[in-house]
Symmetry: C2
Subunit: 342 residues, 2 copies
């Protein structure tokens, strides 16, 4: 799921996005609530009307941005007070406020307002966050006013197995139509992240979508699909593309590297995206070196298409009962590539 | 003709450009000679291969950038020495060097290396520039090594009628397949520019393309077509779009203006471009206010499409013997718009 922070996936038109294979985008409630304001979006026909993306949209709750971007003033059992990262104005978010904003924005899937503790955090700190997250999830459900939006719960619990189990158990009891694993990719090691996801996924109902927030590399996604994860969001394909880092089956490639200057081959020869079908590595390097906007545009188109291709292949492998083989082959190609790059 | 300074029209893929109605792009020899180097482009199949634009391409001579961007060290009868605006390295351009670079780049239309004097300049200074421009045009023709590229001459002469006449006469005697009017839009008043073009155009053969370099507003283009001009290049549609200034039939519109915030209408209701068909003024304002890349992308697509529509209408009006009426109606709509905006 490509991430559209402000109601657009950076540099991509809806047509480009669709061509990449994307079926769903995520928009950030926090950003949209600050500017242009959720009522402006509501009056423009909700996010579908405002952004002209006619396919599924998910909004996050705003919690993650409050805890990561804002100047946090106070967290209490009722909600969070912080200062806007734009103008310093005080903003209050409660579970009810988050849901009201998300009802205005009108996405197909909306998320409970949760407390995402920083990493590292003590067992005691995370316990408080888990308790609040459960209480807030109940208040979100009570406040949710639109039957046409699916409200997902978010499991917290940091790197503590017992707290992950408790959080999952309490949320599953609330019978949400889908569940996210939150509080990962916030500074813990990759091994801790994998362990937390592997532990948490089986605690969630198999007949509901399971969503890992803010993850990850192609390898992360392939592995986590094996854990039963259905849904991801991540800035990596778009942010990396803006920084000239493009994905291939042999690993990522820095397009600013001098060795690409006269290379007529595409970024990834197996890729059928518009960028790879049309442009050479040499031209892309030129665009990035000159700071031309077209570099990030074409790079983003490739990285998104690459992610979508990989996930399409994983789905096909699962249908063919060949998931494990697919994962093994992927890793082998990647390892050969890493050797080759070194 | 959209301007692709570094071998790309900023923010536009070839597909977007083609959709805007563009038939030809301009690439800057100066920029490409400094980076990535003309031999890199030549070895990638010339500009058509390098940029994947399969339609006509024109390169300028590099002269304009030398006189406007570079740190000019010396102009003599043989050529120009200047310091690269990138790294300060000394670069020498002669007519022969410019043509050699343009032969490498492989555009369909290439331009003579001329001396473009600053404005204001004395009659004496411009006389020297006109004499050099003629001498250099002859040397360019002698150096030109590719029969598949059309080499155009460039008329100079500043705002001096006698020098414009002399320059045109000397160049027409050389029998180039096309002619440009250079040294306009360099700081003179709009009235001086119009006068110079009106004066110069009839001095050039009617059976050869006549090209005004670096111009202009939609009004400029409509008027100059009446003078017999066939070809234009200008950064205005793309640069203005990056600065949130979008063209409409009622004048330009600053998309950052607060009054657009909740406006569901398209930028220009008569426009059939992808931007106007898909997105509201309110959404575009949001993108520009948030600094999202998609704002300049969608704005550029509109401004280019708008220019192409106007020129398509002008061509149709000429075919219908209705050019004067078209020009009159355009001006009336514009004046009403200006009143409305005030």
């Amino acid at each position: 799921m490509p991430v559209g922070t402000q109601g657009s996936v950076k540099g991509m038109t809806p047509r480009d996005l669709l061509a990449s294979g994307a079926a769903m985008i995520l928009c950030n409630t926090y950003h949209l609530a600050l500017r242009p304001g959720t009522q402006v979006v509501r009056d423009a026909g909700g996010l579908h009307g405002f952004t002209s993306w006619p396919h599924p949209i998910l909004t996050d709750s705003g919690g993650y941005q409050v805890f990561s971007l804002g100047q946090l003033n106070r967290v209490d059992d009722d909600g969070v007070t912080f200062r806007s990262h734009i103008d310093g104005a005080p903003v209050r978010i409660t579970p009810e406020q988050s849901i009201s904003w998300q009802n205005d924005l009108g996405a197909d899937v909306i998320m409970c307002f949760d407390e995402c503790p920083p990493h590292p955090a003590t067992h005691e700190q995370v316990t408080v966050a888990v308790e609040r997250t459960t209480q807030w999830a109940r208040r979100c459900r009570a406040a949710h006013a639109r039957g046409d939006q699916a409200l997902f719960g978010i499991v917290q619990g940091g790197v503590y197995d017992d707290l992950r189990e408790r959080s999952a158990e309490e949320l599953v009891a609330e019978d949400f139509p889908g569940y996210a694993i939150g509080g990962v990719s916030v500074g813990e090691t990759p091994e801790e992240m994998r362990r937390v996801v592997s532990l948490s996924a089986p605690l969630l109902p198999v007949d509901r979508p399971r969503y890992v927030m803010g993850v990850g590399t192609p390898e992360d996604l392939i592995d986590m699909v094996g854990d039963g994860i259905d849904l991801f969001d991540c800035v990596m394909p778009t942010r990396n593309a803006r920084n000239a880092s493009l994905f291939t089956r042999q690993g990522s490639m820095n397009m600013r590297n001098r060795r690409h200057a006269e290379d007529p081959s595409p970024v990834e020869s197996s890729c059928e995206c518009c960028t790879c079908v049309t442009f050479s590595r040499g031209y892309l390097r030129h665009l990035y070196m000159r700071g031309e906007m077209l570099g990030p545009i074409l790079g983003t188109l490739h990285n998104l298409s690459f992610y979508q291709s990989i996930l399409s292949e994983v789905r096909q492998a699962i249908r063919n009962s060949a998931y494990s083989e697919y994962r093994r082959k992927w890793r082998e190609a990647k390892e050969q590539g890493d050797e080759h790059d070194a």
